[in-house]
């Protein structure tokens, strides 16, 4: 069962599941079942109630004192904190929709699934969640709510989100940072293909406003390793750079070094400014991203 649940978190499998709400639920529930085996025992501190222990459930949460008194097994159920406002910023620019290898899940699709899962998880924890999509400007913004309807709203917006045109990550982050005055958690899902200085400037702006920032830097695996075995004409989906016709195996090494340098710089500078930077690729299991969120969430708690 646990193995099946793990597999359910593979992007390629998840993306074929169908409706976004079903995917999000499946993703999160599967994730949580898997979590019972993990070091993350719980993510809330406030006690809510007792309930009867069910066979097969973990014995970690059995209250032995109650057992001593009643001779029955009861499990403690904790109540979540509800004062967190999380904002998910999803990049929907043209670069997110491009896949160098036909048939692979696109960054945009991966980002949508990840955003839906995070939204589901946040709502399940009774946190307020907001969503913004952007390319070279903010496209859709949903103000934060923690209701169940908010999740439906969020999923609808994600479902309808289509790839835009050019990216201007730095400027957009700046603008959103200006618009959000209440402190909270900012989750950015983007390939960050823009001038790194401006991107970092936008991220720092959030920090400047006392936000907690989690950057999920999403790339296609081929955009990381350039493992393309034939001569090709490489075109920029956002048409900002001239096409390049090349035999990629000649450039692979130097390209990989450049990508490593770019991601390394982002990671380094994010760390310096206490920003959580999570490098992801579209073949990374969602578990990694969700764990990164939980890490961040637990620290906030």
């Amino acid at each position: 069962m646990a193995a099946e649940a793990d597999r359910m978190l593979e992007p390629e499998v998840v993306s074929r599941l169908g409706a976004l709400d079903f995917i999000a639920r499946t993703l999160v529930e599967g994730f949580l079942v898997g979590l019972h085996r993990s070091p993350y025992h719980g993510f809330s501190v406030e006690f809510a109630e007792y309930r009867q222990y069910q066979p097969g459930e973990s014995t970690q949460n059995i209250d032995w004192r109650v057992y001593a008194k009643t001779d029955r097994h009861y499990v403690k159920v904790f109540q979540e904190e509800t004062n967190l406002q999380a904002r998910i910023l999803l990049d929907v620019s043209a670069s997110m929709d491009a896949t160098p290898e036909a048939g692979r899940i696109s960054k945009l699709r991966y980002g949508k699934l990840l955003a839906a899962a995070l939204g589901y998880l946040l709502i399940k924890q009774n946190d307020a969640v907001a969503l913004a999509t952007f390319d070279d400007a903010p496209r859709t913004m949903i103000p934060p709510r923690s209701s169940r309807r908010q999740l439906n709203h969020l999923l609808t917006v994600l479902h309808r989100a289509e790839a835009g045109e050019k990216t201007d990550v730095g400027r957009v982050l700046d603008r959103i940072a200006e618009m959000v005055w209440r402190r909270g958690l900012i989750v950015i899902i983007s390939d960050l293909i823009d001038d790194p200085d401006r991107v970092l400037q936008g991220l720092k702006h959030f920090r400047h406003r006392q936000h907690e920032v989690l950057v999920m830097h999403l790339l296609d695996p081929r955009e990381i390793d350039l493992e393309i075995g034939r001569e090709a004409k490489f075109v920029d989906p956002e048409k900002t750079v001239d096409p390049v016709r090349t035999q990629p195996w000649h450039l692979r090494q130097s390209y990989q070094e450049a990508i490593r340098g770019w991601r390394g710089r982002l990671a380094r500078e994010c760390r310096q400014h206490d920003i959580d930077y999570v490098p992801l690729s579209t073949d990374t299991p969602f578990e990694v991203a969700l764990l990164a969120y939980l890490n961040k969430r637990s620290r906030l708690a």
Binding site: L226, G229, E231, A232, V235, P237, E238, V244, R252, Y255
Partner: protein, 707 residues
């Protein structure tokens, strides 16, 4: 640089293929949307300059590989000083094959065709220069080198060739080319050439020549064969075709027909006188009209002279090719043939006696003056010692032979004796099958048919056999009317059936026993056996069968030979050890001959006949017999090969490359055709090296294995 296969240079167009593929591959590139293109671009600009250079280099290598392979296939050669620089020494080993067959004696405007060919050969020899070496081989059906080794002095060759005249032999191109290649095995020069100079007469060329050539030809590399035809102008040639040998016994004083046929290859009707000569005297003369491209026949009646061999010829008035205008023949005329008749002691008198009619057939007036002199002996007591002298034995009921005489009879047959065996009596069937035939052949007498009311007719099953060859249709019809009652059937697939029954099965079959032959007649010849003994054809049939066997026994070898063959005759008496055996040819010279006493009768082998005519064998000046020698018929055809057709016939399956020497001036034609030192292997090596370089470069340019 010259090319032996210049037509293949069109293959250089194939050099466009790598260029085409290069551009096609550039056009077929797919578009890949790639978001982090900004990280690719600066790297790409540096790398692509170097890569484009390598791709151009790769393209160049591929073009060069194609060019090298095409050039190698076109067989490039270097001539002159360049050939010397190519290493391995200079010079050419040249073999000139000069046709001196009979057809080269044909006269053209300035002499004979051979004179023309000789001049061409001298011209070719004169093109030799520097380290070149030349050999001249005279070819007909044998090949004879002018010098035993290659020579380097064209003057010496010219002087020696001046003494050579054409012979009267046939032509054998396969042997000539094989001998030339064998001679070239001794050559020391790097280049090898054969020049075939002749009239390219279609001589002895049939479907077997190609098969023979393919069987004998070796794989030969780097040898060129140049064809130089010297006779292309057609002219009318009249030929007296060979006179068919008279196979049935001829008798002194008889009148026979000499059947002559004249052929001609021209397009007009030709009228020409025709002469019959016998022993040097003209005994017949007529005029004959030959239609265009056809032949005409004439029969000369000839009364046979006294016993012995009579040599003669049929001749025309000589034309431009005189060698085939006279055809020689020999007639073996006998006065009387002794026939040994072996019979059983149980022979019955009267109508049942098989000998009654047989002896009448052999000696009709019973006066011993006929063609045959039968000597009747009992099978149990015949003279074994004198048996080998008998030209033919007639056997009837041999059940009393006994083991020793049976063995002697078998020995006589195997050494070339002949026997006419009448085995139609049902009482001798078992002995004939189990003792006689079982030692000689698989032929057996089948079940006996002796019904009173059932008759079988005879049919001639081998009308071309010498026994029946000149049988008139009426005589044959009379023979086939004969009805038999007592007879055996024999298997028609064994031996050569001469007569068969209308209802199936052989009635008379000729079989070979060693060098001898036996004709087995499976029908009775007595008066009770049917109508055969009373048929008007019975006497001629027995005489023809006996005469044929007598001829086959005495003149075992045909008395007609071709130039180039060694004539042979048989002699009965070789008891005189001191006798001097000789042969006298048309040139009147007396030459010694070899006696082969291992056969019975013994044989005399004359030297190879080099010219047509009559050859008389003698013992101490006493004539033993004659043979006729004629020019091979193939030498009279007066048809020439299209040299390219000749090349097509001989070229396949070998490394030889044939080319026709074109042009009026031989020396110029030779120099134009002469190839230099072959250097195709250089191009092959270069292509190989380029291929390796291409592989290495392509590997560097190709997709790297996935990490």
């Amino acid at each position: 640089m010259q090319f032996l296969n210049p037509a293949l240079l069109f293959g250089l167009l194939a050099a466009g293929i790598p260029i085409l593929l290069h551009f096609l591959s550039r056009r077929q590139v797919v578009e890949v949307p790639f978001a982090p293109l900004r990280f690719l671009q600066p790297t790409q600009e540096r790398q692509m300059r170097r890569m484009n250079l390598r791709r151009l280099l790769l393209l160049l290598l591929r073009i060069l590989i194609v060019v090298c392979v095409v050039l190698a296939a076109a067989r490039p050669t270097l001539t002159g000083a360049l050939a010397g620089l190519a290493g391995g020494g200079e010079g050419t080993s040249v073999v000139v094959l000069l046709d001196n067959s009979a057809s080269m004696q044909a006269e053209v405007s300035e002499g004979t065709i051979f004179d023309r060919a000789r001049d061409e050969a001298i011209e070719i020899a004169r093109t030799a220069e520097g380290d070149d070496e030349v050999a001249v081989l005279l070819y007909s059906d044998v090949t004879r080198p002018l010098f035993s080794e290659f020579v380097r002095d064209p003057g010496l060759i010219a002087a020696e060739l001046g003494e050579v005249e054409p012979g009267a032999r046939a032509t054998d191109y396969v042997a000539a080319l094989e001998d030339a290649l064998e001679f070239l095995d001794r050559a020391e020069r790097p280049r090898r050439e054969i020049y075939l100079v002749g009239d390219f007469q279609i001589a002895d060329v049939d479907s077997t020549v190609r098969a023979r050539w393919l069987r004998t030809a070796r794989e030969v590399d780097d040898t060129a064969v140049f064809l130089r035809p010297v006779a292309s102008e057609p002219f009318v040639n009249r030929t007296v075709d060979p006179i068919p040998p008279q196979s049935v016994l001829l008798r002194q004083g008889e009148t026979i027909d000499i059947r002559a046929r004249v052929s001609q290859n021209g397009a007009e009707t030709v009228e020409t006188p025709l002469f019959l000569e016998l022993e040097g005297t003209t005994v017949g003369e007529t005029g004959i009209v030959v239609p265009p491209g056809g032949s005409a026949r004439h029969r000369f009646p000839l009364t046979l002279p006294e016993a012995g061999d009579a040599g003669g010829s049929v001749r025309l008035r000589p034309d431009r090719y005189a060698l085939d205008d006279e055809s020689f023949f020999v007639l073996a005329v006998s006065d009387q043939v002794p026939v040994r008749v072996l019979r059983g002691v149980t022979g019955e008198e009267g109508a049942r006696d098989p000998l009654l009619f047989l002896l009448t057939a052999l000696d009709p007036d019973r006066a011993g003056q006929g063609r045959f002199a039968p000597r009747v002996e009992l099978a149990a007591r015949f003279d074994v010692e004198t048996l080998p002298e008998a030209p033919v034995v007639l056997g009837v009921d041999l059940r009393d032979l006994g083991a020793a005489r049976l063995a002697a009879l078998g020995d006589y047959l195997r050494r070339g004796g002949t026997m006419l065996l009448f085995a139609g009596d049902p009482r001798v069937r078992t002995y004939t099958n189990q003792r006689l035939l079982s030692g000689w052949t698989n032929l057996r007498l089948g079940p006996f048919r002796g019904d009173e009311d059932v008759f079988e007719r005879l049919e001639v099953s081998a009308p071309d056999h010498p026994v029946f060859a000149d049988l008139e249709p009426e005589a044959r019809a009379t023979l086939e009317e004969v009805r038999l009652r007592n007879f055996f059937r024999m298997d028609e697939t064994i031996g050569r059936p001469l007569l068969r029954y209308a209802g199936g099965g052989a009635a008379a079959t000729e079989i070979e026993v060693g060098e001898g032959r036996v004709i087995v007649c499976a029908f009775e010849t007595s008066a009770v056996a049917g109508e055969i003994a009373f048929s008007p054809m019975f006497l001629p049939l027995v005489q023809r069968l006996t005469g044929y066997l007598a001829t086959a026994g005495w003149g075992r070898f045909d008395r007609h030979f071709a130039v180039g063959e060694s004539p042979v005759i048989e002699v009965a008496d070789v008891s005189d050890a001191s006798a001097r055996w000789t042969v006298v040819g048309p040139d009147r010279e007396r030459r010694p001959v070899e006696l082969d006493a291992s056969t019975r009768p013994a044989r005399l082998h004359g030297p190879v006949a080099e010219s047509p005519g009559l050859y008389r064998f003698e013992s101490d000046g006493r004539s033993l017999g004659s043979v006729a020698v004629n020019v091979a018929r193939s030498e009279s055809r007066r048809q020439w090969w299209d040299p390219s057709g000749f090349a097509e016939l001989f070229q396949p399956e070998t490394g030889l490359r044939f080319a026709v020497l074109e042009g009026a001036a031989t020396e110029e034609a030779v120099r134009a055709a002469r190839r230099g030192r072959p250097i195709h292997h250089w191009f092959l090596i270069a292509a190989g090296l380029l291929l390796v370089a291409e592989g290495l470069l392509a590997r560097r340019l190709g997709p790297a294995p996935a990490a």
